[in-house]
Symmetry: C2
Subunit: 144 residues, 2 copies
């Protein structure tokens, strides 16, 4: 499961992406609209800024805004930044690889399958971007 941190990040990014003209938005506004604890959100946005996904301006008229085009921000990037590995096992991770202790990787059936799982995930998460999730897709109406 995604941590709250990453979930909040996605909500904040969606909110920012929906603003016109990429104008600075107050942390407090995002916090209120998206019901995210203010101080927690502050930290999250700061991390996103350090990763050069967002940028910010201090003082009056300041706030947070995108440093790059939302369509160039992969979901996978945000997840790795805030939650770490996307893979289910670190011995299969591309960005956070660690050898597993009692497993030789060759000849480990679990390893092979977890690579498949990883690839299936990345195929989606590296393709889809903040722009994709920010666009409300109300035209797809589910019949209940």
């Amino acid at each position: 499961m995604l941590s709250k941190k990453t979930q909040y990040a996605f909500q904040a990014l969606m909110y920012l992406a929906q603003k016109k003209n990429n104008e600075p938005v107050l942390i407090a506004e995002i916090s209120k609209k998206k019901k995210i604890p203010l101080k927690f959100l502050e930290n999250i946005l700061l991390e996103l800024k350090k990763a050069e996904i967002l940028d910010s301006k201090k003082g009056k008229g300041g706030g947070y805004f995108f440093a790059k085009n939302p369509k160039d921000v992969q979901l996978a990037t945000v997840m790795r930044l805030l939650d770490g590995p996307i893979s289910l096992l670190s011995c299969v991770s591309l960005y956070f690889y660690e050898k597993c202790n009692n497993c030789d990787e060759r000849g480990c059936g679990l390893h092979l399958i977890m690579e498949q799982v990883r690839d299936a995930n990345l195929k989606i998460l590296e393709k889809k971007t903040i722009a994709d999730i920010a666009t409300k897709q109300n035209h797809i109406v589910k019949s209940v």
Copy 2:
């Protein structure tokens, strides 16, 4: 990432599946061979038994063995049992569904994509079984 608990479970299940004739195996033996803390393993095996994946016999000559054929035990089943949801968001989980607080699901772009991710995962994890991972696939030799 999979918890240690689930990783240990997979290792133990692989070990049991590789035994001939489904004979009872001591917890202590699995613990030693797979380097899993004994008391922790005890709890894990017990959970697997309660889920009717394994069975056990007490007393001399006792131990753990499969209650069903390893080829009928999906990886997804084990993961759900020990780690909970496979989905990345609970609002998208089939077995552990919970409504998300600030999201209406229809019209939430994240929701739709996380459903795709879930399905991609389940396609693999509900198809592959303990029998699949227990079979060492040494014939696939990676060239280093």
